[in-house]
Amino acid sequence: MTSNSRKGYILLFAILCFAKVNANAQKFLIPRTAMIQRAGSIGYNAFGVGYNLFGNKRGSLDLAWGYVPESKGGRQDIFAAKFAYRPLKIKLNDFGMLYVANPGVFVTHHPGGKFHTTLNKDQYPAGYYWWSSAVRFHISASTELRINTPKSLVRTGVEQMAVYSEFNTNELYAVSWFKNRDHLPFRDIFKLGFGVKAYF
C-alpha cells in the first residue's frame, strides 16, 4: 500500500471513530450488517460492514476490505464500497425472504505502487492512458436469501442471516466486450462471488 492511501484510510477510520457527532449521527454510523464474501472481484476473502438505505431494508451500502493471499493470485488488498437495491422480494413463509435479482454498483480501490489513480505528469503526456489502474467501477447483480433467526437466538442481536451470490463486471471488461461484441461472449465478462451476511 502506498503511504498516501494508507494515510487516507487511517484518517477515514479516525474520523469514524472519534468525530464528535451528535447522538443521531452516531446511531446512523453504527453498522446494521456485517458480511464475509469469497471472490466477486473484491478479494479472496473480504470482510465488511454495511448500512441500510432508504429505511426499507431494500437498499444497502457495504464497506469492505478484501485480500488476496500470495498463493491465490499474488498478495494484494482491495477496498470496496458496494451499493445494491433489492426491488423483488419473495416471502418464504416464516422461514425468510428471497431477494431474486438485485442490481448494484460498486467501486474498488487497489492500493500499491503498481497502481495509479492519476497519471504521473512527469512520466506521461496528458491522456496517454485514459483509465486509472487503481480504481475500478463495477456493476453487479445478486441473489440473496435471508433467513429469519430463530426466536431463541434473537437475543444475540442477529435478526436475520443471509447467503448471497453476486455477478459483477467492471468498466474495463465492459469496454473490452463493447469493442468486440462479435466474438467476445457477453457472459465472459461477468465474474462471480458469494457471501454471508448478518443483519442486526
Binding site: R38, G43, G74, L172, H183
Partner: protein, 268 residues
Amino acid sequence: MKLNLLVLSAVAVIFSSSCRKLEYSPNQKFDKNTPRNINAENLKRIQSTPGDDTIRFVLSGDSQAAYDDLKPFVNKVNATPGIDFVILNGDISDFGLLQEFKWIESYYSKLNAPYLAVIGNHDHSANGVYVYQTMYSEQLDFSFVYKGVKFVCHNTNSREYKFNGTVPDLNFLKTQFQPEAGIKGYFAIAHVPPTSGDFDEKLFTDYGKILTDNGKVYAVLNAHIDKETIQFPYSPNLPIITTNTLYNRHFLVVEVVNNNFKFYDVEF
C-alpha cells in the same frame, strides 16, 4: 430417485462452471487456470520442428482489445504455408489485466505454429508485468537461435521506467549482439521502435551503435505505432520496421532465404 440424480448432476454442472467464474481481483497475477511459461514451451516446439533452410515467421503486434480480429488472424496464419513461428510483439493487453491476457491466449493458442510473446508498454499497466512473467517469460529480455539466425527479443518500453536509462538494457544487448561463430544473421525484436518518443532518447545512439557494429542484423522489428513503416535512422543497411496492429487487420511475414531477408504485409 432419477429426479434426485438429475438435480444433483445439474447442481454439480452449475457449481463446476461457477468455479471458473470466481474472480478474486481483476488484478490477480494468476489464477488456477493460467497457462504458464508459454514462451519456453513454444521454443521447444520451434526447435523440434524439422524443415527446410528457409525461415518464415509472422510478426504480429498490438493484440490489445482486438478480440474480434483474432479469429480471422488465426485462420489466415494457419492457411499460410511454411510458417515456422509467430511473434506477438507487445501490447498483448490493453489494461494489463489477467483476463485480457487469457482472452488473447485463447486465440493465439489455436495457431498451428508456436508463438512467442514480447512485452509492450500497455502490458506494464497494473500487474501486467507479473502476468506476462507468469504466462510467457520470467525474463523480459531473451534470445534464441533458429536455423543459424539469432532472435534477440527485448524490452524497449522506456517510458514505463521513467526513462531511467535501464530500458532497453544495453549491457544485455551488447552481449547478445557480440558476433558469434555459426550465427549468420540477427533480428532485434521489441515493441517500441527506437524512433518513438516512448523510447529513451538518451540511449538512442548507443542502441543503434550496438546493432550497426554487429554488421549482420537483418532488421529491427517493432510494433506500437499502429501502422506499417520502414525507416533507416542508423544506416541504410539497418531497416527499422513496424508492423500494423491486428486491430487494423494486418501482419507481416518475414523470410530469410539463402541469407537474404525480405518481408511483406498481409491484410486479412
